[in-house]
């Protein structure tokens, strides 16, 4: 911001020796902060214990291999359920969503900070923020009623010209594209705002001196971004992307509404089929028996672990590059 509109704060009360005196208020405050931290850990531990207990009881009654089975018939007799399709669908749709969303989000963030005039940058930031305010079910309805019919052209184009890649081979031409690829595009739109926002804040942190030095050496605007901005902001952008990935992994209603789910694990991204953890839970929870619910919780535990791993990986990356990072310090 250019001009600060804040009033100057009143002078601190006299006799406030820095840090040597602990007051009652300080003790209360530090106790409260510590309490919040402990509370959070306790809640997470409680969730983990609950999920594990229910999951173990379900997996012990599973008449198939929980990790390699395709179908999900937890209410059947005998119960047969497995997460192979869900794991594949979740990872594939999230990864493709990341491949689409991250470059676009970084591009938007750079445009807002380095290219757009101030008058345009600020409204653009609001608009991107508004994308985050749309409930996921609305994305789902929009996806099912608008995006799917409008994806038909792109789908047949990909099938026609890139069909040889197997990935973009539509085996049953003419089917409505309610497939993992369409879901990925929808997820990409949904995770765009969070990646854009965090990246923008990180890029803002780049020291002015670096950019000015680069300019002084005769760098063009793009070169400034390449040599000064992106290296500095890299870890922040990575952690922003991981936040987005966490969202994509856990997205429920939008996927359940758009995807034509089935117990098929196929490399053909344009064929309807597949499934994700969260969408599977949403579609089976309403009519599940007790074992059915426990089985869904077991699948939720796997998602929980994947998300933990993703966040852990992001932490490691950021910690390794701490000295460069202006954000997350």
């Amino acid at each position: 911001m250019g001009i600060s509109t804040e009033k100057t704060s009143p002078a601190p009360p006299a006799g406030n020796a820095a840090g040597s005196v602990t007051r009652f208020g300080d003790r209360v405050f530090s106790g409260m902060t510590r309490g919040s931290g402990i509370l959070l850990l306790t809640i997470m531990a409680a969730i983990a214990v609950f999920l594990t207990v229910r999951a173990v009881s379900a997996i012990s009654q599973d008449h198939a291999n929980f990790l390699t089975t395709f179908e999900w018939n937890a209410n059947a007799n005998p119960p047969v359920f497995g997460i192979a399709v869900l794991l594949y669908g979740t990872l594939v749709s999230s990864v493709i969503a990341m491949l689409i969303a991250v470059p676009v989000a970084v591009g938007i963030a750079l445009f807002m900070t380095h290219y757009a005039p101030r008058k345009l940058g600020t409204p653009l930031a609001y608009i991107v923020d508004l994308l985050a305010a749309v409930p996921s079910i609305v994305y789902g309805l929009w996806g099912a009623l608008f995006l799917v019919p409008h994806m038909e052209g792109l789908t047949s184009w990909l099938d026609h010209y890139l069909g040889w890649t197997v990935i973009f081979d539509q085996t049953n031409v003419g089917t409505a594209p309610r497939n993992l690829f369409t879901v990925s595009i929808l997820l990409a739109i949904m995770i765009l705002p969070i990646i854009t926002n965090v990246s923008r804040e990180v890029i803002r942190q780049v020291p002015q001196a670096h950019e000015e030095a680069a300019l002084a050496l005769g760098a063009t605007r793009w070169e400034v971004i390449r040599v000064a901005v992106l290296p500095f902001a890299r870890s922040g952008i990575i952690s922003a992307s991981m936040l987005g990935l966490g969202r994509a992994l856990g997205e429920t209603m939008a996927v359940a509404t758009v995807l034509s789910s089935s117990d098929v694990l196929s490399a053909h991204l344009l064929d309807p089929g597949g499934g994700t953890f969260a969408a599977n839970i949403a579609s089976h929870f309403g009519e599940a028996t007790k074992l059915g619910r426990d089985a869904l919780i077991a699948s939720g535990l796997v998602l929980f672990v994947i998300t933990l791993l993703v966040n852990g990986a992001a932490r490691v990356i950021i910690a390794r590059r701490k000295e460069y990072s202006g954000a997350n310090a």
Partner: protein, 378 residues
């Protein structure tokens, strides 16, 4: 910085309010799909005369099947209009969840698309002190075979053909098996896209039971609320299937009649082996329910539908939704209201209104048994 954040928050909250407002509106709209008030005000005025309030008072909570939600909504409105100081609250949470809430003692009765399992009856003895839960059939839900095929207004199918279509064995509309059933109809060379439900549902359960009963050699799956066949397209909820079929040329699906009529979808006729192919109406669905056998014992009235019926003018693909309630040992404070409300909804007057909402009324013989079972509830 500070100023900007404030503005952004304001914009965000405005956007959120606008969007969630819109969502609330669409949510109401998508669930309740009887166009306009099909039951006119004069009808509800007449209803006020036929409702017996019998000491009904206070709040009555019930939950369960979404298939009967529209019927319940209309009935509760009529009942509350006639009896002052009564609140009937039926939440459509799905049959499984409804039974769960009832067994935990949170609701006075549950609505379900399928009868109680033996272990659920055993569990129910905890909530019904001295009694157990019974199934009372209440609403017939006809299941339509909806399709979307340009230029084909009349389509006749039979069970084996349907089974092969939904099992991806018949892939084209101009397949000889379909052509044989539709002499003189020009069928296009177009891929069939068979839509089924993504989530577990009573509609799937009853549709697959029909396929299994009427075409056992072509439908090898064990059945149940989850869709088991591979292939085809799946969509979330009755409205999702209707929307999917509507937007895809060459699609076929199964859905409750009310969704077929409100979305103005084409409906196939069935060749059941009767003299004439049967078209779906609320009457032809009621005829099929009349052929059902009562298989419940100890006052339980759960029905076994005859899906393979060849009776003239009977549409065999129907689901029956039950109200599940304690035969004895109902909570003292909700008993009078429960009894009065169930009495009303099983009455001839309430049942006759079902057809307006594309439900099938109970056949007389079954309705009489249901009424006498309700009068014995204590």
């Amino acid at each position: 910085m500070k100023l900007q954040r404030k503005n952004r928050l304001r914009a965000l909250s405005l956007g959120a309010v606008a969007v969630s407002g819109a969502l609330a509106l669409t949510a109401c709209g998508s669930d309740n799909n009887n166009d306009g008030a099909s039951s006119t005000s004069s009808a509800s005025a007449k209803a006020a005369g036929s409702v017996k309030c019998d000491n009904a008072k206070g709040n009555l909570l019930a939950s369960g099947s979404t298939a009967q939600q529209n019927a319940m909504g209309q009935w509760s409105k009529d009942f509350m209009g006639a009896c002052s100081g009564v609140q009937i609250n039926y939440k459509g949470v799905g049959s499984g969840a409804g039974i769960q809430e009832f067994l935990q003692g949170n609701t006075a009765f549950a609505g379900s698309d399928s009868a109680l399992k033996p272990e659920e009856i055993t569990q129910s003895k905890k909530v019904c002190s001295g009694g157990q839960a019974i199934d009372l059939p209440m609403v017939g839900g006809p299941i339509a075979i909806i399709y979307n095929l340009d230029g084909v207004d009349n389509l006749t199918l039979d069970a084996p053909t349907l089974a092969k279509i939904f099992d991806s064995k018949i892939k084209k509309w101009n397949d000889p098996a379909i052509a044989k059933l539709n002499p003189g109809v020009k069928l296009p060379d177009l891929a069939i896209q068979a839509y089924h439900r993504t989530e577990d549902s009573g509609t799937t359960d009853n549709f697959t039971k029909y396929l299994k009963a009427a075409a056992p050699s072509d439908w090898k799956y064990s059945g149940g609320k989850s869709w088991q066949a591979k292939g085809g397209q799946s969509a979330q909820g009755s409205s999702g299937v209707a929307a999917g079929v509507k937007q895809t040329n060459g699609a076929i699906g199964y859905d409750e009649l009310s969704y077929a009529t409100s979305n103005k979808l084409q409906m196939a006729q069935l060749n059941t082996g009767a003299a004439q192919p049967v078209a779906l109406t609320t009457d032809s669905a009621s005829k099929a329910i009349a052929a059902a056998k009562i298989v419940g014992t100890n006052g339980d009235l759960s029905l076994q539908l005859d899906y393979a019926t060849k009776a003239d003018g009977a549409w065999p693909i129907v689901l029956v939704t039950y109200e599940i309630v304690c035969d004895k040992g109902n909570k003292a404070d909700t008993l009078p209201t429960t009894k009065a409300f169930l009495n009303y909804i099983s009455s001839e007057d309430a049942q006759s209104k079902l057809a307006d909402q594309s439900y099938a009324p109970l056949p007389t013989e079954i309705a009489t048994k249901v009424r006498s079972a309700i009068s014995n509830i204590s």
